[in-house]
């Protein structure tokens, strides 16, 4: 896959930005922060209408047969808009787990519905501080799932989950319909991510992979979601970069625009560096999909994008002074999203370890 965007890809980038600009509403997004269990349905309907749910899924299941590159471009636009629904990442992750898993009925049950957006999926790997625990506490036994997964992104409204579980002491990946599961909403600093504890009590589930295969598949799913998320982070960071630049041109202190002060000017220039490095890593990672170097590329994208977005959030608020810390101005939408995305799919510590482990394996590209 090329690391130059072709015309079609550029069109997706422009069009998704245009659509989201027109349909995102800051007041609505701010409102979502104060409610548990609501998400931005306008955004999600737009995503379905635009075919974003189908983008990176195979034609055989109603998908558009495009790739991580295109999905990444859309994710960048949603990141810029702090769009209020996690499913662009989570449904994609769930679909990838099913697609590369071994259960054909799971494919026909879920993939067409995930592609059309009729159903939404989530990915429940993490247990507390561990994004991919070596010995998951939740168990899969006799085709039934039992136990709890804490604070699953999208868990509150998703129709199905792909769960990292234990099967006879070895890991397993299973797909489970959430209609019969218990969900306990988590009141969060970023409520639009729909975090919920998922509680299963002998809930019927489908086995996608077990043992070493499960680990390989789970890591691939995580890496793919991390690449989508990294694009989203870059979109957010870039939006903040330009918000900061515009404000620095407009706000005056001591008889000149604050952008004339080196401390402000350099801060914005440094942000530019962080954003462009993260973007380059994202482009490279998306192009490496399915290649041997994908895991390393995903980790690079993930680490640099997390740094870019967190830093952009801190600095953009700082550059705004007092107005930057108000509810109304809404920069905290980005600050909150920067943090939630930094933790979903594994925090920085996890990805640092991942990257070094991959480098030690020596098969990095």
């Amino acid at each position: 896959m090329s690391i130059l965007y072709d015309e079609g890809q550029q069109a997706i980038a422009t069009e998704s930005r245009r659509v989201l600009d027109a349909r995102t509403d800051k007041a609505r997004l701010l409102g979502l922060l104060e409610q548990v269990g609501e998400f931005d349905e306008t955004f999600w309907n737009t995503a379905i209408e635009q075919g974003w749910t189908a983008l990176a899924l195979p034609e055989a299941y109603g998908g558009l047969n495009l790739s991580l590159v295109e999905l990444g471009l859309v994710a960048q636009a949603t990141g810029a808009a702090t769009a209020g629904a996690p499913f662009l990442n989570t449904s994609y992750g769930a679909a990838m787990a099913i697609l590369h898993g071994s259960d054909d009925s799971a494919k026909s049950d879920w993939l067409p519905r995930l592609a059309s957006g009729d159903a939404t999926g989530c990915v429940a790997f993490a247990e507390g501080s561990s994004p991919l625990p070596p010995k998951p506490a939740i168990t899969f036994d006799g085709m039934m799932l039992t136990g709890r997964k804490p604070a699953v992104p999208g868990g509150l409204k998703a129709d199905m989950a792909v769960v990292w579980a234990s099967l006879g002491g070895r890991p397993a990946l299973v797909a489970v319909a959430l209609a019969e599961a218990k969900r306990e909403p988590v009141s969060s600093f970023d409520n639009a991510r729909l975090y919920a504890d998922l509680v299963f009590d002998k809930t019927p589930a489908q086995l996608l992979a077990q043992g070493d295969d499960a680990l390989v598949l789970a890591r691939d799913v995580l890496a793919r979601m991390a690449v989508v998320t990294a694009h989203e982070q870059v979109g957010g960071a870039e939006a903040l970069l330009f918000i900061a630049r515009d404000y620095a041109n407009e706000r005056k202190a001591f008889g000149q625009p604050i952008g004339a002060f080196q401390s402000i000017k350099h801060r914005i220039a440094e942000l530019y560096g962080l954003v462009e490095i993260a973007r380059a890593n994202c482009i490279h990672a998306a192009a490496q999909e399915g290649q041997p170097g994908f895991a390393v590329a995903a980790a690079d994208a993930r680490l640099s994008a997390t740094e870019a977005y967190d830093t952009a959030a801190r600095d953009c608020i700082q550059i705004h002074g007092g107005i930057g810390v108000t509810w109304e101005t809404g920069l905290h939408l980005h600050m909150r999203r920067a943090r939630s995305l930094a933790i979903e799919q594994g925090n920085t510590l996890f990805w640092e370890d991942w990257l070094v482990d991959e480098l030690l394996k020596g098969d990095a590209a």
Partner: protein, 401 residues
């Protein structure tokens, strides 16, 4: 036991005795109004027990003790989560300034004692939409009116204004001279006709700051606390006092112990996170930094006690501490992984990584932004050249907006 240790012991015993009534457990779940009411009762109890105005003169209701006693008490008090935040600005800047610059001594004394008892609260009305860092760019104006003044304009970011009885304020009394020269300092009755307070909701969800509008508000000349046109000097004195209030090396966030606890409780790659090199490095660096700040503060207090001027390194406190709090809180959240998503906006910032992180940006702006503090250090302490300031020497009314 030294005298100071005895003082600490006694203070601690008193704090322990009132903690069940006023401490953090008693405050859980209270609305701001209820918490403020509790705070006023606590402030009264503190006054009666002799722990208010510790280092202020006895003539104005203080205890006539030293800075060391004051900081000793504050250090102990901090651990109990008492409802004292509402009085921090009031007793930190405006009231000390009142003691120094108010001409009407009996009236002043009455106000100071009422403020010490928590019956009255004062705010500091400096910042404006067009003048934050550039304080002297403010536009609120007062014009002479008989033997007094008429004031109109708008202030912003006024902490606790909605609960305040009085405020200190800087206004423009002469727009035809360069910006620093045309300012005058007053006190203002926040309940006077023409004063309107509108709360601003902050990113963390609370609304302790306000916009304050003044529409033709009458000021008596006796409310003036500086020479006409000499307000900027008094404002700078106020800000100098402010810098010494910020002596919390945790940047008003959680103590490092909480991070160590978090790191001990949480598993990273099958071992307690505290065994991970990155976590140990973060702890060690933060510890060294905070220890340095604590030592600077202790030394400053000892010097003040001994009648000497503390060094300028005290100005590092807020700058360094709040930035590090922001980053450490991020790491605290990272460590908790998915468990970090559960969030209680009302948790205390000093004992919760989520609220600490969400509220940290305000600390890097309020009371002088990082950049402005760095400028002050570079220019005033290190003698580096001032930034280019195109408005320098230009009459205020000729500076392009």
């Amino acid at each position: 036991m030294s005298d100071l240790d005895a003082y600490r012991d006694k203070a601690r015993k008193w704090l322990e005795s009132v903690a069940p009534e006023f401490g953090r457990d008693a405050r859980r779940g209270l609305s701001v109004e209820e918490d403020l009411a509790l705070g006023r009762r606590y402030q009264r109890a503190k006054y009666d027990a002799g722990y208010t105005g510790i280092n202020w003169p006895v003539e104005v209701g203080g205890q006539g003790l030293g800075h060391l006693e004051k900081i000793t008490f504050d250090g102990e008090e901090m651990q109990f989560g008492m409802p004292n935040v509402y009085f921090g600005i009031s007793l930190g800047m405006p009231v000390p300034i009142l003691i120094r610059f108010c001409e009407d001594k009996p009236w002043m004394k009455e106000r100071v004692i009422a403020a010490l008892k928590g019956e009255e609260i004062w705010c500091q009305l400096f910042s404006e939409p067009s003048g934050g860092s550039d304080l002297a760019a403010l536009r609120t104006r007062a014009e002479t009116d008989g033997n007094g003044w008429r004031m109109s304009g708008q202030k912003v970011w006024t902490s606790w204004a909605q609960y305040c009885d009085y405020g200190v304020i800087v206004v423009r009394t002469d727009p035809t001279v360069p910006k620093h020269k045309g300012l005058t300092y007053f006190w203002v009755d926040m309940k006077a006709p023409g004063v309107e307070v509108r709360p601003i909701k902050l990113a963390g969800g609370d609304s302790h700051v306000n916009e304050v509008f003044f529409d033709d508000v009458r000021l008596e000349d006796s409310q003036r606390m500086s020479p006409v046109g000499g307000g900027f000097g008094v404002a700078l004195t106020t800000l100098m006092i402010e810098r010494y209030v910020a002596t919390d090396s945790a940047g008003f966030g959680p103590h490092l112990d909480l991070f160590v606890e978090t790191a001990q409780d949480i598993d990273l790659n099958g071992r307690p996170a505290i065994e991970d090199g990155r976590i140990r490095s973060a702890i060690a660096r933060n510890h060294a930094m905070r220890a340095g700040l604590d030592s600077i503060t202790r030394r400053a207090m000892l010097m003040m006690q001994a009648g000497m001027q503390p060094g300028p390194e005290g100005s590092l406190q807020k700058l360094v501490a709040v930035r590090s709090r922001q980053k450490l809180s991020e790491l605290g959240l990272d460590l908790q992984g998915n468990e970090a998503f559960a969030f209680d906006p009302h948790a205390f910032v000093k004992e919760d990584w989520g609220t600490s992180w969400l509220n940290a940006p305000t600390g890097r702006i309020a009371g002088g932004s990082d950049e402005v503090l760095l400028n002050t250090i570079a220019e005033k302490i290190l003698g580096l050249p001032q930034d280019h300031r195109p408005d320098k020497g230009v009459p205020f009314n000729q500076i392009p907006a």
